[in-house]
Symmetry: C2
């Protein structure tokens, strides 16, 4: 870096004190008589001295940085989460580094190693798959780590999650009340805690009726397209879909539109997230809304203010409430039989 800076030595020389005195004074570890303090302050100002942050971190063991490990920042759910976390961290004078993993275990492990090597003050870990034990082991090395959005087996860290079971329930309830009895699920993989919670809730909302079929993959529009095509091939009397994310919903709607399947005339649909402009879609899409901004803020607040010395704090499990936004994508059942 072509940055000319004065060193602590220059400040010490100009103020006519030792380097150790300047260092301890500037780090707040030393009380000094007014005269000496004045000389150091003037020398700092005259030389435009800025402490080298790496040296400072080395001596204080602190980086003022939080690491965010996140599947995909281009997905609006995660970009909203990241924005909420960055805003909250910035209010407290902290920076965030961003690591996108695309749900790949190798990238998750590399990002965890990197964040650990860099002595971050805290970690927020988000995944959308069931990672191997090596991931939880590495999360557990951090003095302060939060597991956000999706649970991670064996991680010793507080969780901040949305109430996935209640979300599934609200979706099931609105479909059941509209008369639907044969429902399919398109969403995240079945080994995810969020998936089992949502499916449990869905069954509760449907008065005990489980979905006929589940189609699962990553939360990406491309996956939504593929799963929707498989659903249309298999479809045997299903009248409604519960879709686990807005990203998947985008893919599903693209396929439905291309194949002339009308929502809700042919198939009713409830999405999950409500982070895309679903109110402007044709038709406007009914969705379970996640409290995404609150989730991001809570994760950072807990990193800052949590009772990290209390072993019970690591078992914290905050379930933030969801709500149903009713729009035009749920109608009366109209069985279509599309078996080839």
């Amino acid at each position: 870096m072509a940055q000319n800076r004065h060193s602590l030595k220059d400040v010490a020389k100009r103020a006519d004190v030792s380097v150790a005195t300047v260092s301890r004074y500037l780090n707040g570890f030393l009380e000094l008589p007014d005269g000496t303090r004045g000389r150091i302050d003037r020398a700092v100002a005259d030389l435009d001295y800025r402490p080298n942050p790496h040296a400072r971190r080395l001596s204080l063991g602190r980086s003022d940085t939080f690491a965010l490990i996140i599947p995909d920042i281009a997905n609006p759910f995660f970009s909203r989460l990241a924005a909420a976390m960055e805003a909250c961290a910035a209010e407290h004078g902290k920076m965030v580094t961003l690591h996108a993993t695309m749900n790949r275990s190798d990238r998750e492990i590399a990002a965890l190693e990197n964040a650990f090597q860099n002595l971050v003050d805290g970690l927020v870990f988000i995944t959308n798959h069931m990672p191997p034990p090596e991931v939880a082991e590495r999360i557990n090395r951090f003095a302060r780590a939060i597991v956000l959005d999706e649970d991670v087996k064996d991680a010793r860290a507080p969780r901040v999650l949305c109430d996935n079971e209640q979300g599934g329930f609200l979706a099931g309830q609105v479909l059941y009340q509209a008369g639907h009895r044969k429902v399919a699920y398109i969403g995240g993989r079945e080994d995810l805690f969020s998936t089992s919670a949502r499916l449990e809730g869905l069954r509760r909302g449907m008065q005990g009726i489980a979905p006929l079929r589940s189609y699962v993959d990553d939360h990406a529009a491309a996956s939504g397209r593929e799963l929707a095509q498989r659903f249309l091939k298999d479809c045997d009397g299903e009248t409604a879909l519960f879709v686990g994310s807005d990203e998947l919903t985008v893919g599903v709607l693209e396929v439905f539109r291309a194949q002339g399947v009308r929502v809700p005339d042919d198939i009713s649909l409830v999405s999950f997230d409500n982070v895309r402009s679903l109110h402007l879609f044709a038709p406007a899409i009914t969705a379970v809304e996640q409290p995404v901004d609150t989730m991001g803020r809570r994760a950072i607040e807990m990193l800052l203010d949590g009772e990290w010395d209390d072993p019970d704090f690591l078992k914290t499990r905050e379930l933030l409430p969801v709500r149903l936004i009713e729009r035009q994508s749920v109608g009366a059942p109209n069985p279509i039989t599309r078996k080839a």
Copy 2:
């Protein structure tokens, strides 16, 4: 941080060499006989020694980190840009820090100071307003900085921009060819380089006809709502709108829908960005598409591989091509007069 680590001293002691030897060997500055090398490598492995990154940065003057200063990471245009930059940086073993400014000069200055203090290896600066001279002064302190998306007066740094003039031209052309002669503009502020380029292009596409009125503000859905309300009050024969971002388009469509203004029956509309799911909107929205992934990658590639010793390189101005995606929001003119 509660992280127990072995120091360089421990490695040196175990390998029976001096600390300086271990340090210079591990940093690649020293050739050693096989025996000595083997002893150090074994000591590193036995002790699970990890170099302290802050000490390493202190000695190498390098942080392997790029700073991204960006108006709003929740806006899908910027989150797509950030995702492309993070992916490209990660491929080269670099991290990114994220600083959201909400286009506030004080936050831009604070983020620039912070990144400078942290000795980042490079800066990507994005703003959506005309910042005061203090911002360009601070950008100019960096050895490697890229100005992305929107020009910044007096910044001595390469620019990576989309071809805004051509974007305006394509919008003007499609509106003119559909028969529109009275057009209004809703978009970014008029002191932005992007705004003047788009308005110039619009006039060229409209065969020399300038928009009747311009409504300008930040690229946010809330601004779109406010500007659309003002437009509907003033509207005096305009038959089409050119809207400067998908965020503004969302706000405009919300107001149009609430007030029963139909697109394209009452007003035709062309958006700019194509980062939201405009193809699923009712109606599907015609838009000028920015090459957002390419823009993000180019910024990082230039930080990594640019000819930074060549003063002419700082004058680089890459204009990346845009294209028009035609959908259903442009129709024949149908003058509505809504003057109160």
